[in-house]
């Protein structure tokens, strides 16, 4: 069954240095593919035979390896202004230190940073992958902190600079400074740039149908949430009121 967050986002692309060239990697419906290698899996075969694995294939492999790695959420960007400075020179330097004697921690650091350096679109997809995994496996402590780190900047923009108490639970806004969102908020709402639509803070996604989604949203602090239909993908816009929510 297709995860719901896959329906809320379109394809995403990033670039990486692969040998002497810059190649594209493309994420479509949950799969990362080495776009500039076509259907050619010669690189993977070459790697199995002891040759150098093209970086694009290595990145695809690392993507699968780290799709449930909590550290992605710790290191990853929290909002569009939170840019990561992972330069090609930095990656080259880290890669130069890797040989068969390099400790596992160095290899993992390089692997994670090379994934986060693929660009903001793919970095966000990877964060969504990890968040969806945490929600599915009920690892709520880590998920709650990661959600808070991404919801606070949204709330600051939407509801002012007051301190907010954030939790994962029944979606709602309790009083002027307490917000609860569903466990899928990070993967489905934040990851899809759905956090604020038409001035409404989106707390949860109720259902998705093609380019439309019904969301549970609140117009301002202290107001009751209500269902809202939005059309996407990002930038999302609200089209009509759908009455009361569940």
């Amino acid at each position: 069954m297709t995860p719901r967050w896959h329906l809320l986002v379109g394809p995403a692309e990033g670039e990486a240095r692969c040998g002497p060239n810059r190649h594209r990697l493309r994420w479509v419906a949950g799969e990362l593919v080495a776009a500039d290698h076509g259907g050619d899996d010669g690189g993977a075969v070459l790697a199995q035979l002891g040759g150098d694995e093209p970086e694009c294939f290595a990145l695809v492999r690392r993507w699968h390896d780290h799709a449930a790695d909590q550290r992605v959420l710790l290191l990853g960007s929290r909002h569009p202004g939170d840019a990561l400075v992972i330069t090609a020179q930095l990656l080259d330097r880290l890669r130069a230190d890797l040989d068969h004697r390099a400790p596992r921690s160095c290899r993992e650091r390089y692997a994670l940073l090379s994934l986060l350096a693929l660009g903001p679109q793919l970095e966000r997809r990877l964060q969504q992958e990890v968040a969806a995994h945490l929600a599915a496996t009920n690892q709520l402590v880590c998920l709650e902190a990661a959600t808070a780190g991404r919801l606070v900047p949204v709330l600051r923009r939407w509801g002012g600079g007051r301190p907010w108490e954030i939790s994962i639970g029944e979606p709602g806004v309790d009083g002027p400074a307490r917000v609860a969102v569903g466990p899928h908020w990070l993967a489905e709402v934040w990851g899809s740039y759905l956090a604020v639509v038409a001035g409404h803070l989106v707390l949860d996604v109720l259902d998705v149908d093609l380019d439309r989604a019904r969301v549970w949203a609140v117009s301002s602090p202290g107001r009751q949430p209500r269902a809202l239909t939005v059309v996407g993908p990002a930038p999302w816009r609200a089209v009509l009121d759908a009455g009361e929510g569940p």
Partner: protein, 435 residues
Amino acid sequence: MDRQGLAAERYLRLTVETALDPYRAGPDPVTELEGAADALAAAGAADPELTADLLAGLRLALAIRRDPSWPLPSLTPPPHPGAGPPPASPRAVAVGPVRFQLPTGAIVVETVTLGSDGGTVVASVTDEQGGRGGRPGRPAPVWGPPRRPAGRRGRPAPPAAGPPVPPHRVAPGPRSSRAGDGERLDQLRLMDATGRTSSLGPGARVPAGPGLWRVARPARGPLEAFSPWVDLVLPGRGAVRLPIQPARPPLAGREHRRSPGAAWVAAAVGRAAAGLPVAPVAAGVRALLAVGALDPGDPLARQAAIVAGKALGEGLDPRWRSAVERRDAPAVVQGSWPVGAFVDLGGERARLDSLHAGGDGAWLAGWCGPWSAPAPPVSLSAFDDRHNWYLLDPAWRLDATAGWRLHPELDPEARSLRVDVMGREREASVEIALR
């Protein structure tokens, strides 16, 4: 994971998020997390591995958010050197110092411990270029009752010929050696009254000063813990006999009815009073209170607030005030005292082997465990019979031996010292007669 553990993890993770918020206000985020992590791990509320991972992750996350910062922090923290098994049983103790003068430096054996769980030799070693004694800047001290170099198999040694050699000090032998001091320690032999001999296994060392190392080496073979003495033999350099003090009976701790975080707070307040760099007390106390690992009504919380505000006068408990007043006391006491105490606090165990004092200060050798966090699982403090209070601050740790430095220095008028060992739920006291 229990409820407090979940609360601690949640607190630490949210602290990481706050640290990465560009609009945050307040102290340095890494220091803040360090204080919280240190306190929660010491209180047993947070998994030490998790706290170390989060700290490493935060450092890396901050590094990749600014212009490339070199060197890039590691993603995984190295295993900390304190990890080791808890002490298993009491140990008999023989104290030095026994100085073996070498052409290239010196080996000063400080303590030998013997027990059913093994034996350990703690020594100070100068490097080959050092040429300095076991105690920097002065000749090796002569402490304790006079002792004579050992004879063969326990017989009294013949009177020394030639110029007098201070007890415990073995003059350089006629043979010159280019062997390193580490290799010299490999040659050290321990012999008990039954004639059983033990060499030393590979150990570890930590720097103890310029050109000076502190070394702990396990005894390889079984030695009789009830032997009245142990001979230290360094081929070509001589032999010295040390009397052994039998181990004291194990001491069971009493419940202290404080919250699990109290030991950490007591140590942190003590460090502040002694003028030592202290992990952020306020951050640690905030974390402990938030997860319920510290009783808000505990007077220690008030003391922590006082030291966090740098106000070390008004309201500070007299015991810590005594440490503030004696901060600059000189190190004038010299001596070594065997302790041989074993404290069982239920969850934690501590072994107090010996107390040493010299020109470079006073320190207690021993071990405690399970030591899985950067901070030791027990907090040590001491009172003397002149009502002076001392902090025992972890100074070094090796395989299964650690050294706690006393702050401030020992009062030369003190005749006894009571060392308080405080764990998360229990505490116990060990008396040491200084005269």
